[in-house]
Amino acid sequence: MGERLHIAIVGAGPAGLSAAGRAAHHDREQGRSTPSYVLLEGFSTFAKTIQKYQKGKHVMDEPGFLDLRSPVPFVAGKREEILGAWDESIRAGLNIRYNAEVVAIAGTRGDFTLTLQDGDTLQAENVVLSIGTQGNPRALGVKGDAESDFVRYTLDDPAEFQQETIVVVGAGDAAIENAIALSDYNTVYIINRRGEFSRAKDGNLNAVLAAINDKERPFHCRYEANVAGLELPAAAGEMGAIVLNTPSGEERIACHRIIARLGTVPPRKFVESCGIEINSPAADAVPDVDRHYQSNVPGLYIIGALGGYPLIKQAMNQGYDVVEFIHGKDIKPADYPLLQEQFSGLPYVMDAEAVLDLYQSRIPMFRRMNPLAFRELIIESRILVSLPPAEYAQAPQKGERSTVFIPAGEPVYRHGEFSTSFYTLVEGTVELQLEPGGPWHSIKPGQFFGEMSLISGRPRQGDAVVSEDAILIETPRRIMVKLMNSNEEVRRGIDLIFIVRALQAAFRPQLGLQELSAIASRVDTCRFNAGEALFTEGEEGDCLHLIRSGTVVLSRGSDRLVVAQHHSGDLVGQMALMGSPRRRDTATAAVRTETLKLYRDEFLALVGSQPEHVATLQNRLSRLLQQTNAMASQPEAGRAIAFLMDQGLGEATNALVIDETLCVGCDNCERACAETHGGISRLNRAAGPSFAHLHVPISCRHCELPHCMKDCPPDAIRRSADGEVFITDSCIGCGNCETNCPYNAIKLSYPAPPKPGLLSWILFGRGSGPGQPETFEPSAKDKERGKKAVKCDACMGQAGGPACVRACPTGAARRLSPDEFVQLVEAR
């Protein structure tokens, strides 16, 4: 135990390195001979997440609008260059301690005790947590399990090993994928703690069972086996061994290498053990910190991904700032000029920090948010100011990062538009419709709107018209989702208004907001996973469901004949309250679905206040019954719909479906796609399942709530007002979208070489012809830049619509929304 340090920084990622660099700078200024800080890293090297990137990967420096403020250099470039520059900074004299995993932090400002895994302890006045959210790989838990050449917790390149005996421990997807890839050239044992591979995806499950049963493949499995011990190799290149506890006794397997893929230990438990509160149970919830990145434990600071800032540059800026704050310097954060620019068009002159405080106090829902989160929300949002049309025509538009002027009296969004951003009104009024042609509702300052599309992902319902001199905050969906996941109060507030407005749209009640809110608070929000039933045919029902997001399929009879599909905003099961209580159908969620459940009392209160609307509801119901009846008498059509739903098309907005009775397999659709999209086809015609002459090729369906948009660090995936989901140039090639897409519709690819003209190909045989083969050797420059994600953009911006459809010579390829499925299957 040494003297008490001024700052202990935990985690040597970009944020930690930057903080250490700044702390070292202060030490130099003060002329200290011994460092006043230490940078603790649990792993044997710095920036392990980036170290794990593939060789030569291009690392981006998004967001481009933010300047770097750090003593440690960082510009976009190759992984090696960035790591090299950081290594240089460390060599220049950072006090870093490797293999020093912190297992406990106790105490408060001025008196922290950090306990390391080897039992050593450190004293520090301040602690900066910059451990990221990746977590550490779960260890084998036996002697000698530290990462080494023999025991590995990652596998970069399976081709690195050949003619070896390798033991893979684990039964998850990573373990299975590694084991199968290794077994091409090695003898592989996979060690499963359980009796089956229950955690794996279907594809991997089939693959591992096939590999185990394949007599030709040197692939062996040990079920119900636990690792009892390791025998490390005596010298490099020699074999070691693993000892297993199996149901039939102890077994020793001699091997060259052990790859353990046991998942990671998420840092949440550790974070909470330090006394830090995380206020939401959501898996991606982050702890609250104040303007100075200080958590609820005084003196304990949180920066980087763990604080909700996953981008390298943001994290490094925070590393710099946090050390300044600890040294008592109240500097303006690096994003201050950004805020100033955003507020530059406001009708009053005020300091940006003051505007920030004013706005936060004006909006009830944001009032109790932590200031840093609100600041982040504003930086990621657009500030909209409405002007009278004459002034608007002359107003300068200085881009998205400045104040955005909009014309007063015009809609901020129109009915049917695909936008999912969330609007908060600061000044002025907005007239809001909840359904096309429906009554208008007035929105007052401090209120918000746009929560419908935010939650359901469906296009806007009705228009929203802005008055003169209104000021709006338009926040992108991903920021709101992050906020709702980490702030229970905001989530509840938005939820309540969502329910109120959903009820207003569905029943048009003549009730005051108070009564409506009272009803809304009694409404249950139900969540259903794909395949779960809302209710079952034959049972007695006492409630109806208003779909909040997702798709519900109604089916009938023992063979589950599909008779109808319903989307968000629709009512399901209203027969129980408007006719006989016995359920005539089984309602099943086709994709992950959320509904609002209304019981008889609430229903009667709602419709009782507006008797004229009951006739409308009854008319809708009887029309619906006609439709379901028509479907019920066409079992073939019902089965085809069921197939489409099974393919996840319930959440699609624009899906490619091929009629196999017309498809001649010419692949002109793929060629057209490639030719109109830089030489790389975004669809795979032959792949994908078929049923009853319908083929669902692998191609983007432009989901209602796109899975790919969930986790995009530079926010490169966007949705246009017409609904196309597309990837912008700011893609950093991280591959998250590729992983998140359940339909394999996104791939990472190098740009294809440019093509010669058609005539020079025909006449001179130059280059490859139309509909190139997709195998090409990327240029050295492209290799350096790395792969980028590519996906279908539904040919947005191209006159005439999707090229795949226009290029189909027989009319087999069609792009459809779910509303058109019925017509598709009935028309046969």
């Binding site: 394949d214 001649v664 191209q798 005439g800 290029a807 009319g811």
Partner: protein, 297 residues
């Protein structure tokens, strides 16, 4: 009814073609009115009108190949072009026949006509194939892709090899030779014929030489296996034989499906290998025809 090539936009180009047909017949028939200085032929003004229309039509019809590859083009859809191609291409037969007024001979003019007919009739076959064969492929595939079927076949083969290792040497060599001598695909002609050219080597006995015979439909192996089952001496032997019989039964079906699928897909494509080169030849012949007419005018 789905929009196919024929009923595209409510038979738009069928209607257009019928108008073209009426117009052509009217032009042709007008040769019979007034004084007949010469019988109807390509040299009258009506003949020139029909000939010019026909030549332009041929050029336009062959432009489908270009339009199909102009992926950014907004000049209609490819399906619309293909529908027009079908109907107007059919009309070409009438227009060209009226143009020549059935005057044939052994010359380049008739050669152009014959080539044109070949192109059109190969197109008729193509139309038939495009309209009917995809449905047959779907029915055959029954939702299982070709690769999956290949994979199943590979798995069946692995299991056959494994089971055969438990048989006597004679049977094993018979079974393995049946696997090794199975033929699917082959040359274009063999693919289209889809004749089962599989063979099997029947091991020789005491008096007989080993001989390789046709194993079409895996029939020889299946017959051999089924005839041996009643003779099996041990239960284990009967079990292996039964297993092999079942596996070869499945194999027989899979191979037949694969062959048929290869055949159908081949039939869908093969006509283009005639249609396109013949079109090129037609364009050359047409050029010669037009030049020579002008030279000998």
């Amino acid at each position: 009814m789905r929009e196919s090539l024929l009923n595209w936009r409510d038979y738009r180009y069928l209607k257009a073609s019928l108008l073209v047909l009426l117009a052509s017949v009217a032009v042709y028939a007008s040769q019979h009115f007034g004084q007949l200085t010469q019988p109807p032929n390509g040299g009258t003004w009506q003949g020139y009108v029909l000939g010019t229309a026909g030549a332009l039509l041929i050029v336009w019809l062959s432009l489908l190949g270009l339009r199909k590859r102009r992926y950014r083009s907004n000049l209609g859809t490819v399906q619309g072009w293909a529908s027009a191609h079908v109907y107007l291409g059919t009309m070409l037969l009438v227009i060209a026949t009226l143009h020549c007024a059935l005057q044939f001979g052994f010359n380049v003019h008739t050669l152009a006509y014959v080539l044109m007919c070949l192109v059109i009739f190969s197109g008729f076959y193509g139309l038939y194939a495009y309209l009917h064969l995809p449905g047959r492929v779907v029915a055959l595939e029954a939702g299982v892709a070709q690769e999956d079927r290949m994979e199943e076949l590979a798995r069946v083969d692995v299991r056959i090899r494994e089971a055969s290792s438990r048989c006597d040497a004679n049977l094993q060599s018979l079974v393995i030779s049946a696997l090794d001598l199975t033929r699917v695909g082959g040359s274009a002609w063999q693919q289209l014929m889809a004749r089962d050219r599989s063979r099997v080597t029947v091991p020789g006995g005491r008096e007989q030489q080993a001989r390789t015979v046709s194993n079409s439909g895996q029939a020889v192996v299946i017959e051999h296996l089924s005839s041996r089952i009643p003779d099996a001496r041990k239960q284990s032997e009967a079990e292996v034989l039964n297993e092999l019989l079942a596996l070869f039964g499945r194999r027989q079906v899979l191979l037949q499906q694969l062959r048929r699928e290869v055949q159908l897909r081949g039939l869908l494509k093969i006509w283009l290998y005639f249609h396109i080169p013949l079109t090129m030849a037609l364009l050359v012949a047409l050029l010669v025809h037009i030049l020579s007419v002008f030279i000998y005018w």
